[in-house]
């Protein structure tokens, strides 16, 4: 495995970690807050939205890393996956 791959793995791992902890913190805060304030459940819902955003985020980050490494084949593959996922989002709202 090349050194660039190692660096790319670190960026991707940090993205996943950031999304996980951010969602976790918001959800826990929301769960506690909902007993004292009516808007608490909205904070928890925001946490779930952050969680829902992590799959898209990890594809975008992987795609950018492939572009940086000039690995256009896999950048294109990532872009294809991203297109399908975005299509799911659009179809999900419409139906």
């Amino acid at each position: 495995m090349s050194r660039q791959d190692v660096a790319a793995d670190r960026v991707l791992s940090l993205t996943l970690k950031f999304g996980a902890y951010m969602a976790f913190a918001l959800i826990v805060a929301g769960l506690v807050l909902q007993f004292v304030a009516s808007w608490g459940s909205r904070v928890a819902a925001a946490g779930l939205l952050v969680l829902l955003a992590t799959p898209v985020l990890r594809i975008i980050v992987a795609c950018l890393q492939f572009l940086r490494e000039r690995d256009f084949k896999y950048a294109l593959v990532s872009f294809g996956v991203l297109t399908i996922v975005v299509l799911a989002y659009v179809l999900g709202i419409q139906t």
Partner: protein, 262 residues
């Protein structure tokens, strides 16, 4: 929701996340039946909530696997081309399938998973952990992509990750080492489940009041599980999971026979 119900959901999520990280089987397989049988959620809603648990398990555990360079991101991304298509189609179709049919399919998949776990537990008794990952080149992409399409379809239909389908195919047909296959599958299920989750969320089949405590538990459970997994004998965990999966399958079949899941 009462405090007791919320804490119970956190505990269920914790166990599901812990099992997912320790046994390499997403906790989704136990969350959906628990919600459908004991919380009285309609199958579609139980599946919608479970999809979020699957994303949580994947995000929490794969951050560690990617950091340790066990995940093959290129392989994962390629197979995701197929899993996401399968998940999208299945999630759109799932809405038109009645609840009893979904429950029957789920019970079948539960039994299949229990069977594959027994085999995994049996193998784990005498195979040693691969310490160093051997060199490999993924082979047989057409078979891998076809299996991924099916795994993605099951994911969108039943809210599971599809690991029990993808991992054996990567191992046997694509000649990928087991640890890489498991870690790559873990990375993929988040994206696959995400694709279906958008469709379920858009339809309003994701209950925030139930998903939030569950997901909080899943995060805590899978982070802890991934940390302690090198030190735990997986045989006993797998057998425990087989018992739970078997029990839930029997409960689901009993409920189906007595006219439940309407």
């Amino acid at each position: 929701m009462t405090l007791a119900a919320m804490l119970l959901l956190v505990a269920i999520g914790f166990c599901a996340g812990g099992f997912g990280a320790l046994a390499g089987v997403g906790g989704g397989i136990i969350v959906t039946p628990l919600l459908a049988i004991y919380f009285g959620l309609p199958m579609h809603q139980a599946i919608g909530v479970t999809l979020l648990c699957v994303i949580a398990t994947s995000t929490a555990t794969s951050s560690m696997y990617v950091e340790r360079h066990v995940t093959d991101v290129r392989l994962g991304m390629t197979l995701e081309l197929a899993t996401t298509v399968g998940a999208l189609i299945a999630a759109l179709v799932a809405h038109h399938i009645n609840r009893r049919t979904l429950a029957v399919l789920f019970a079948c998949f539960l039994l299949y998973t229990a069977g594959s776990l027994v085999k995994k537990a049996w193998d784990s008794r005498y195979t040693k952990r691969e310490e160093v990952i051997p060199d490999y080149t993924p082979q047989n992409y057409p078979v891998g992509l076809a299996a991924s399409l099916i795994a993605g379809g099951f994911s969108g239909l039943l809210g599971i990750g599809g690991g029990p389908i993808k991992v054996p195919v990567m191992l046997l047909f694509m000649k990928v080492p087991l640890r890489v296959a498991a870690a790559t599958s873990n990375f993929m299920i988040g994206v696959t489940a995400g694709t279906s989750a958008y469709v379920y969320w858009g339809r309003g089949d994701v209950r925030v009041d139930i998903a939030a405590p569950l997901v909080a538990g899943v995060f805590a459970g899978s982070l802890l599980g991934a940390r302690i997994s090198p030190k735990v004998r997986s045989f006993y965990i797998l057998m425990l999971l087989v018992c739970i999966a078997g029990w839930l399958a029997i409960e689901m079949i009993y409920k189906l026979l007595t006219g439940g899941f309407q």
